[in-house]
Amino acid sequence: MSEVVLKTEGVSKNFGGLYAVRNVSVAFEHGRVEVIIGPNGAGKTTLINLLSGDLAPTDGRIVYRGRDVTGLPAHRLSKKGIGRSYQITNIFPQFTVHRNVWLASQSRLPSCMRFLRPAGRYRQVAERVDRALSLAEIAHRAGDVAAQISHGEQRRLEIAMLLAAEPDVLLLDEPLAGMGAEETGGIVTLIRSLARDHCVVLIEHDMDAVFAVADYLTVMVGGSILESGPPDVIRASEDVRRAYLGDSSTAVLAGAAAP
């Protein structure tokens, strides 16, 4: 029996009268890749923002490891072990790849109000950086300025930054966006391997990747949960097919059904 790490209880987010997320209750378990899918505007990113503390819910509760964390700011949740990556690459463009990951790793020091000892002397921080760089397969770019590496590499950098902070829950907002097929394969493998000792929550549009990686799927439409279940259940669901109006997405779902 897996344990539930992070769950929401009837959370809603209201933007000036419009519900982006409405009465959503989900539970995410340790050791699984949990994928949230849904058409554009379904509220997936808003849900991630609520989980990461970037937004505070209008209603409902968020519970992390048995503790109510509703409304805690992002930096507190991050310290507690909920890490996230962004849909639009959100890095420190002027800094080197190494320094980007360094800042992420350093955030796990008990305190960064340290003024005299050079940052480079903190061994554990450096080790975490090296581990994250090689896990995300970006170590060869460590010395390059982040703004100058390719888009796919920047996505890997995002993941490296996430890993360097050694979170418990990984919230990944479209980590594959803008990647080529070859790069996608590598990231999918990486995500699968991370699921062994993390709780991975993922938003993704690429259906091939979704079905390759997911242990459990949650389908959102119009801010609410339409259906959730293991991949084969979702694949077979008529409701889900109907929700993805238009032939192309139906085709995508059907296509993905074939192994």
Partner: protein
């Protein structure tokens, strides 16, 4: 590393400091006074660079801390004898730090243009306080009759009334401040504030309480500005409300930009160049009748610097600092 200039700059800086060390041996009184002012403003500009170039906070009220510390010296100095440096300096810096913490807590809640405007306005509050209140002479300013003396036991070790003593003391402060900032900027704290400058939102998502770091940076910077103000008060032994005014804050910003933001040593160059420029335009020999209206020339100078000197003077003879990873040169 970010704050360690390349070898060329390091050599140039060493030469400059060496040259500064011999100024009292060759210069006459007036030149020494100007050189002291340059050093004091170099400390001031450097403190501002910590905010501007490293934390990404554009403060237009930094002179408040410069002036507040100068006024504190006037207030703690006894009327008929010299204050002891050992007690006076911590008192002045303590007052400055307390004020900076209060103001800082307020302004770090704001960002961008609100930060600029609210720092300016709150600094102006200090200006009006000293301008209107009866303490320390109001709008006329007040004298510090006896400059502080460093006394341990019964022996006077340093008397800041001596022009050369003050000069060397200020120079030592400049070197110490520079060294201190270089160390701080390499520390975990330094990494954090530089991250905040580039992408504060991401820093927060990484788990940093960015407001706290901005506040500490603000107070540190104010403390250093306070040290500069303390030294400044010792030059003429006179304080006036203008020291806290928006004009001084603006001059500090111009010095940092002129020298090159985010380089530390650029602030030193900027302060020297600005004060040097002021001395030139005020001199009839160089500017003739315009010498009387030198403010116009300084205004033109400021505009030219902003429009045409994007990377500052430091950018002219050294490439912009290369941001290397933190551990690359680890022993």
């Amino acid at each position: 590393m970010v704050t360690i200039p390349n070898r060329r700059v390091a050599v140039a800086l060493a030469l400059v400091f060496a040259a500064l060390a011999v100024v009292p041996l060759v210069g006459e009184t007036y030149a020494l006074k100007v050189a002291t002012r340059m050093i004091v403003f170099a400390i001031f500009a450097m403190s501002l660079d910590l905010l501007l170039g490293y934390t990404g906070l554009v403060s237009f009220g930094h002179a408040a801390f410069f002036g507040l510390s100068a006024y504190s010296l006037q207030l703690v100095s006894p009327e008929s004898e010299a204050a002891n440096l050992i007690t006076a300096l911590p008192q002045c810096l303590g007052v400055t730090a307390a004020a900076a913490a209060l103001i800082g807590m307020l302004v770090v809640r704001t960002a961008g243009i609100y930060f600029i405007m609210s720092t300016l306005a709150l600094a102006q509050m200090f200006f009006f306080f000293f301008h209107d209140s009866p303490i320390a002479g109001g709008s006329d300013g007040a004298y510090i009759w006896y400059k502080p003396v460093l006394t341990i036991g019964a022996t006077a070790l340093l008397d800041l009334d001596g022009r050369e003593t003050l000069y060397y003391f200020a120079l030592a402060c400049l070197v110490l401040c520079y060294g201190f900032l270089v160390v701080v900027l390499r520390s975990p704290f330094g990494e954090v504030i530089q991250g905040i400058r580039v992408n504060e939102h991401r820093m927060r998502a990484l788990g940093y309480d960015t407001r706290r770091f901005k506040l500490v940076s603000f107070v540190l910077s104010a403390l250093m500005a306070g040290l500069a103000g303390f030294l400044f008060a010792c030059i003429d032994g006179f304080v006036a409300p203008q020291l806290l005014g928006w004009r001084e804050s603006g001059i500090g910003l111009v010095m940092v930009i002129l020298g090159g933001m985010g380089t530390l040593y650029g602030s030193i160059i900027g302060a020297f160049a600005f004060i040097g420029m002021e001395e030139i335009v005020r001199d009839r020999q160089f500017t003739g009748v315009m010498a009387e209206h030198w403010q116009i020339l300084m205004g033109v100078f400021v505009i030219v610097v902003v429009l045409f000197l994007k990377n500052g003077l430091a950018g002219l003879f050294a490439e912009p600092p290369i941001r290397r990873p933190a551990t690359k040169e680890e022993p």
